[in-house]
């Protein structure tokens, strides 16, 4: 073990100086230990940097679509019903066009099932059928007969099933039912003139945004707050289903934090 090499005066002098320092109290052994404290820091301080701009579209069931598509805004002629959370969309009669919502969903990079988004980030459900207009009108004085008449197709049969299921093919501004929850069908949400003003919320993140999951950790796991909380909730959800193979941004960081908190 001991090197039998250079025994020159310089070499020995260096060693003598070192021994003097040792006699004066300098440690002769230095231990490089991967301490627990350092491990904690490295597991918690990872940062997610978004490689590009990102939108998360959330509906009232907690389903979500993640992508970078655009959502076109429009104005409904009917009453504003939405109480959407997020970026202030869905309030009043301002909303997103049905077409752009559908396109966003179709082109989404990641799709999450109902219940994936915590309830505090979901928009309120759309309100009742009677607020929908028929044929694009604003005659909200419809009685039951008029409503039924609207449901009778040209053959005289009831289209009630379509109404309840929200078939979504009548995009002429007529009333859409609310019964189609869970099928990702746009018609499960109230809309008017091809514009949806309720039932959806959108969270936007710009390219290069950084999220530090460790900032959201409490004693039992993640505490989802703010817009970043939506992203984290989905990242955790995706990590649970796909693990390290997930391509969702920042999953490895999220897993690192989850490992630390023992989940």
């Amino acid at each position: 073990m001991q090197k039998k090499n250079d025994q020159s005066g310089t070499f020995l002098n260096r060693r003598r100086q070192l021994l003097k320092l040792g006699a004066a109290g300098m440690p002769m052994v230095l231990t490089l230990r991967a301490s627990a404290a350092q491990a904690v820091i490295s597991q918690l301080t990872c940062v997610i940097t978004l490689p590009g701009s990102l939108k998360i579209l959330v509906d009232d069931t907690g389903a979500a679509w993640v992508g970078d598509g655009s959502l076109e805004t429009g104005t409904t002629k009917g009453k504003g019903k939405g109480k959407g959370k997020g970026k202030g969309k869905g309030k009043g009669s301002e909303g997103w066009t049905l077409e752009s919502i559908n396109a966003f969903k179709e082109n989404a990079d990641f799709v999450f099932d109902e219940g994936s988004v915590p309830s505090e980030f979901r928009p309120d459900e759309c309100e009742e059928v009677e607020e929908c207009s028929s044929g694009g009108g604003d005659d909200d004085g419809d009685d039951d007969d008029e409503l039924l008449a609207h449901l009778v197709d040209e053959n005289g049969s009831y289209a009630l099933n379509d109404f309840l299921a929200g078939s979504g093919d009548d995009d002429d501004g007529s009333c859409h039912g609310h019964g189609g929850g869970g099928d990702d069908d746009d018609s499960s949400h109230g809309h008017d003139q091809g514009v949806v003003d309720c039932g959806y919320a959108c969270y936007e993140y710009s390219s290069g945004s950084t999220i530090t999951p460790g900032d959201f950790v409490n004693g039992s796991g993640f505490n989802y707050t703010g817009d970043e909380g939506v992203f984290l909730a989905l990242a955790v959800s995706h990590s649970e289903s796909a693990g390290l193979n997930s391509s969702f941004p920042g999953v490895s960081c999220v897993i690192s934090v989850l490992n630390f908190v023992g989940q």
Partner: protein, 102 residues
């Protein structure tokens, strides 16, 4: 002290079979496979490990063998420093008392 009570009669030993040692100039980087720790040993502490790995020694009996190994005199390396080095190695878990507590 990691190993508990000791005396001048305590015999010390070292198990180098569990150590992975790489010599870099005058520093011995020593990875302890048992603890997972890595230690930077200078020529003196490395010599102590070498001596104790070849047999059980007290502080007193180890000193001349260590001096012989490093090729220096007691005037350069006092026995007290060798004893302190053994105790530091004990704290690091690199040497163990073969018979402790006397």
């Amino acid at each position: 002290m990691a190993a508990g009570p000791y005396s001048d009669e305590t015999l010390w030993t070292a198990d180098i079979t569990r150590l992975v040692i790489r010599v870099m100039e005058d520093v011995n980087l020593t990875f302890d496979t048992l603890s997972g720790d890595t230690h930077a040993l200078n020529f003196l502490s490395a010599a102590v490990i070498q001596v104790l790995s070849s047999g059980k020694e007290t502080f007193a009996s180890a000193a001349p063998r260590v001096l012989e190994t490093i090729g220096m005199e007691e005037s350069d390396c006092p026995k007290g420093l060798i004893k302190d080095t053994i105790l530091q190695l004990d704290e690091a878990g690199l040497v163990i008392p073969a018979r402790g507590g006397e």
